[in-house]
Symmetry: C2
Subunit: 455 residues, 2 copies
């Protein structure tokens, strides 16, 4: 329960329409895409960095949890107010402060949607590369908190590669400024990247200086179908060995293809058990050349068909067909985003299939194969307790397998609350303790998103 | 003076040829390219991470400064044992542990030369983009400690963009492992980039997982001469507004050109007061197209001549001619590496000239103009006290000017000891205190490179 004094102080700070405390109002801020539900005691909507600081100082004064929230599209539960307290919704900090095409920079507040950044950059011939599937409605604050990626990360990297500097309020309420405005800078410790991916546990981002990239002249693509997963994985390695990195290398496995066939019986070749969608970008001539190389890299005994797609919409058609089907099964799946070295994909996918067989768990795997980043979805009937138990045992084994292959537990979703009990599989205790000590410096009272990221 | 007990313990740990304590032997480790001299009391040459840890623990036990050193090519005095103690030379940790072209990764020990990484990567069609001018003889450990850049940073970024993970020993002697082996990963805080650029004040790097980049198919270039600096700066902006970023945009000012003319009277057009060397890379067709665009971007009233260069050697001829001349005047210059937003270059260079005029200081400016990263060299006669005083006043004003233009004090050299008294011009006290607190976590006894980076 919230202290009445804190609520009183918050009411002095914020007008009524920017402070919710009615449980009905608060409920909309109780969940994210992890589908877990933790209602906050109140939701605050700051519109300035000063307000963010004042709220943080109050939460420190009253030792009340404060959980920053972008647009709630995360899948790891990072923005859930697990211990109640104040949910800090940054969604009304919506100002694009600077559009500076000459220096390839946009400065924006955390609530600005990823799509709004793209819209602001596009007329000047630029884009901001991070492209999570929620780009239309997720915020850059959330992108920064998780170092969000997406299909184009294989060529362009993730959020941490595209932020020059930040303004933020630490867990203890101190206003800090990190990084710089220029494309180079090495003055002091790199706090910018320490905050990127810290999932709202260290500081609340109030302003971000984003580095823009020139739009490619054109895009093209290749669709390739394979008789089996192993041949597809072999093709992924061959594609990633090309000097020209494609702008996306997306993989759909048999489970994904079957899900699509259930709704669209004629969309896919009946013999295909795995599929790649490869996007290339650059000049028209680059595209022609790279497309030829990609099709050639796809050639192996298991290739059913690889051909150039007429346009990007055609290329992404299958992936887009999969999305709503995945949403339909969403409450019944465990959704992970593990990464293994690209060269290990054939062995990893084989052993993954074996594990799921052993535990009798249906699975659907797809994702950003060019990075070795696979979304492993274990489908479960929530009413079947035994299946649930088997699925979580299977998941535990999958994570062990990922670590054996020198991979990582999360490529873009983060740890949040969903994966924190597994983090010690990847991070040794000395390193984890150092991270905890850093958390204490930024947030000595453990106010900010308490309990997240750490086991 | 070193405690005899520490020296005894070190002798038990290391054979004689890996522990110097004779002042004559130690003297070679007393300086770097900042030209300041601080002899260490002893120099230790570990060859394993265990030895690095053992030495660090001993220095903690005896509260003795420990200063990590790559190959001493830094210009900011970052590796100088200012307070005596042990100089930790990593130059014998020379193993390339893994060459994994399929995953575009090289794993190497800190003493491996930048050039050795290039040599190992090249046969597989890759390179490692950081390219300081000392690439032939500087180590990757030093590159990582400073987030080294170079001419190609304009297209490829600096060291922090090309390291996936690290192993390190913290100042308190804890062995940590940061980052991952894959091209994507967001598990825990980004300690990799916290260490990159921390100038040996937080931890000693014992192993680095480097991300490789495919070699360009070909390179080409443009040499452009201008009647005046302002026109040249305008051309830089136009070049950097092109969608295709050149692989280098190097600038030489009037002072640089005159220095070259002193030695090579016929190398340069007599009317030129500023010069650009623009390198482009990609496919042969890209090069043809981009070269045309670059030459077109150079067109303005102040252009004397812009033309394609036959080969890379011709392109870099002038820059290479400048290097030994700069070395000749080295003891008599203050060498900085400030950065301003590219769009501010015309105004900045104008005001810089005005400042140097006011203080009657001769200056030579050149550098990585595509990043707005200018090496400002103030030439002084070390025997002229008044000139020295004026030069340092001028420098103080230059740094203020850089900050006014939303720039940064260092693009690639770092703070070390040379610039620490200026760091508060750029970093506010709350942010700086947070950095100091982070230092305390990694290095509670302030053993590791004490006094560096902070004012």
């Amino acid at each position: 329960m919230l202290s009445p004094e804190l609520l009183r102080d918050l009411r002095e700070l914020l007008p009524n329409d920017r402070l919710y405390s009615d449980p009905t109002d608060c409920y909309a801020y109780a969940y994210d895409n992890s589908r877990k539900i933790f209602p906050p005691d109140a939701v605050a909507f700051p519109i300035t960095a000063d307000e963010v600081q004042a709220i943080t100082l109050l939460c420190n004064k009253y030792k009340t949890p404060l959980t920053p929230r972008g647009r709630g599209t995360g899948t790891a539960g990072g923005c859930l107010p697990e211990h109640g307290g104040i949910e800090l919704s940054l969604e009304r900090m919506l100002q694009i402060i600077t559009i500076d095409p000459a220096n390839r920079v946009i400065v924006a507040e955390p609530g600005v949607l990823n799509q709004s950044v793209q819209d602001a950059a596009h007329p000047h011939g630029f884009f901001w590369p991070p492209d999570p599937s929620s780009a239309m409605y997720c915020s850059i604050g959330g992108n920064i908190a998780t170092s969000a990626g997406g299909p184009h990360a294989v060529k362009y990297g993730t959020t941490r590669d595209h932020v020059l500097g930040l303004k933020a309020v630490t867990g203890s309420g101190k206003v800090i400024k990190t990084g710089c405005y220029t494309s180079k800078g090495v003055v002091g410790y790199d706090l910018t990247r320490l905050l990127i991916g810290s999932e709202g546990t260290l500081a609340i981002i109030t302003e971000a200086t984003l580095k823009l990239t020139a739009l490619p002249q054109a895009t093209g693509g290749v669709t390739a179908y394979f008789y089996d997963t192993a041949s597809c994985a072999t093709a992924i390695i061959a594609i990633m060995a090309l000097p020209q990195i494609p702008s996306a290398v997306e993989f759909l496995d048999k489970g994904s293809l079957n899900l699509i066939r259930g709704r669209f019986p004629d969309m896919l070749p009946p013999d295909a058990d795995a599929m790649l969608m490869i996007e290339v970008d650059g000049s028209l001539r680059d595209i022609t050349e790279t497309t030829t190389s990609v099709i050639s890299a796809c050639q192996n005994n298991g290739l059913l068909n690889a051909e150039q797609t007429g346009d990007t919409a055609t290329l992404w058609k299958t992936r887009k067909a999969l999305s709503p089907l995945l949403r339909d099964i969403a409450p019944k799946k465990i959704n992970e985003d593990i990464v293994v070295p690209v060269n290990s994909l054939p062995d990893f996918l084989k052993e993954l299939a074996q594990l799921c067989d052993n535990y009798q768990i249906t699975n659907v795997n797809f994702g950003h194969a060019g990075n070795g980043n696979i979304h492993v979805n274990l489908l479960i009937d929530p009413d079947d307790e035994d299946e649930s138990r088997r699925a979580y045992q299977c998941l535990d084994n999958i994570f062990d397998l990922v670590i054996q292959f020198n991979g990582t537990l999360s490529g873009e979703h983060g740890i949040g609350r969903e994966k924190r009990s597994y983090i010690t599989k990847e991070i040794d205790s000395a390193t984890l303790n150092l991270m905890k000590d850093i958390k204490k410096i930024f947030d000595p009272n453990n106010i900010l998103n308490p309990g997240k990221l750490f086991p």
